[in-house]
Subunit: 317 residues, 2 copies
Amino acid sequence: MELSGDCESTTEKSEVTGNGDTETQENVAQSWLRGATFREILGSDVSHKSLFVLLSGVNDEQGVFLMNKSAFSEDANDINTILRSAELIEIMKNDIYGSYNAVIPSHLNMVKSQLIYPANEKIVAKYRQEEKFIVNETAEDYRTITVKYIENIEKYQLEIQCEAERILFEDPDPYNGFILAPDIKWDGVSLENLYVLAMIHRRGVRSIRDLTANDLPLLENVRSRALCAIREKYGARPDQIRAYFHYQPSFYHLHVHFVSLKYDAPASSTLAAVLLDDVINNLKIAPDYYRRATLSFTRKNSDKLLQMFREAGRCEA
Amino acid sequence: MELSGDCESTTEKSEVTGNGDTETQENVAQSWLRGATFREILGSDVSHKSLFVLLSGVNDEQGVFLMNKSAFSEDANDINTILRSAELIEIMKNDIYGSYNAVIPSHLNMVKSQLIYPANEKIVAKYRQEEKFIVNETAEDYRTITVKYIENIEKYQLEIQCEAERILFEDPDPYNGFILAPDIKWDGVSLENLYVLAMIHRRGVRSIRDLTANDLPLLENVRSRALCAIREKYGARPDQIRAYFHYQPSFYHLHVHFVSLKYDAPASSTLAAVLLDDVINNLKIAPDYYRRATLSFTRKNSDKLLQMFREAGRCEA
């Protein structure tokens, strides 16, 4: 998984600084960075090539520095520039195969970074990577632990709102209908990372745990009409769209993620995502499947739900 | 997913060139690269930051150039070097948040690369990324299509061999026993990407499709003893190990992957991996679950099994 926090939060507060003092601001940030000392690695992802570090500045205020290697440019001129100028440092050579460390021009090898300073404890905590643990939730655990957790957070949950102008498709039926809209993570253009959400109209279906065979018409309706609408609107083939629920979901009103097969989306892997096709299949095999199943998912160490499972003696402390 | 092929194949053929002519070889490779022309992007992965390109050299021979951005060093001195020398180019500044393109020292920003030349068509095909498609295999499809596919490849399949010296644990029972050994992809040291395989002793269980509730003792035995052995040997907690089958598997003798939760392993996502816990749960809910289930997986466009599904009219052409 890519470390979260890449390029988010930058528009959260106040207005963007005007052009007039950009250069000064830039120098200020760079000066702050040069005077800062490395304190701690908050997070690291070797497969996505990112590193989040905690710094302390000259006046002892804290800062968070987030670094992500940039993806390669796919522009032919840029690639030819790399060929012309790459310096190869040999690691191994064997017949037709050679391994090298290559130095390429810095403008084609930028690090996308964010510097946040001064950073309070809440910000530092947000970027501190936490260990995750697997929870195996039995049907009984769901009823005695998870439902309490959900009821508690629901009190604080905002009404789900959808921006009407972004809706791609709507089936207005109140029982089996839904709306389809681009996810906020998607730019709405690049098909490589197409990401669309279907939100059902019916209230009270919190997650896949609430589904029975009675809901098959709802699920099959969402599957066929959403895939159809996505094909019509974007030309994407149904057999190149991965459709799944999250379990646990981030909010407890049933919704389905429709994501390009080419996109390695956050939380699309096992222990986080459950395929819509699998849910339909499971309910056909056993109408009360989700009332009986043990479902597995991961939670961060400081997570409230994990804490509740641990307190109940259902997870190792 | 990281593009496959990173740092593999380099030891496949002949002996490593001696130290004596390293410098010459290096210059030869670099000269070849400088004289080469970009032809085609064979593969690209923006989330793992890699790019595979096809080149043609001055004498028209083909070459394949594989580039992967390196992960950040986590060494404190290296991080302090970045702080001292990073040049920040501002993208956006907003209150305490700033986004920048950063130029960092090239020795901390290497591109891990492989150059393969001259490359024949087979090598080029190996590194050419292919589109994938989802197959929904019903139980009937399995019997009429997939079994034929398996029987055909089994004729060519080598006897499964295990290097005795690498075995971590063995339960010798011929019916419910198994051997546990590090996967060849794992160095056996770094717990972050721990990867261990359990191979059952019993013959004739080709994949999860062959499992029924009668096999629960086998599956529960593998789960508990393998997790125990991994904890004993490496100190890894059972709730930080992801245990799964591949479906379709790469070879048809039942085996289970035990992988660190921290490691985003190839083919560990939905549509490729099926959790051992889910398989056990499914067989408890319906003893003949895998004789009735529709199972979904992806195949590359040129794949033989996908072709068979298409010929049978079970997948869109």
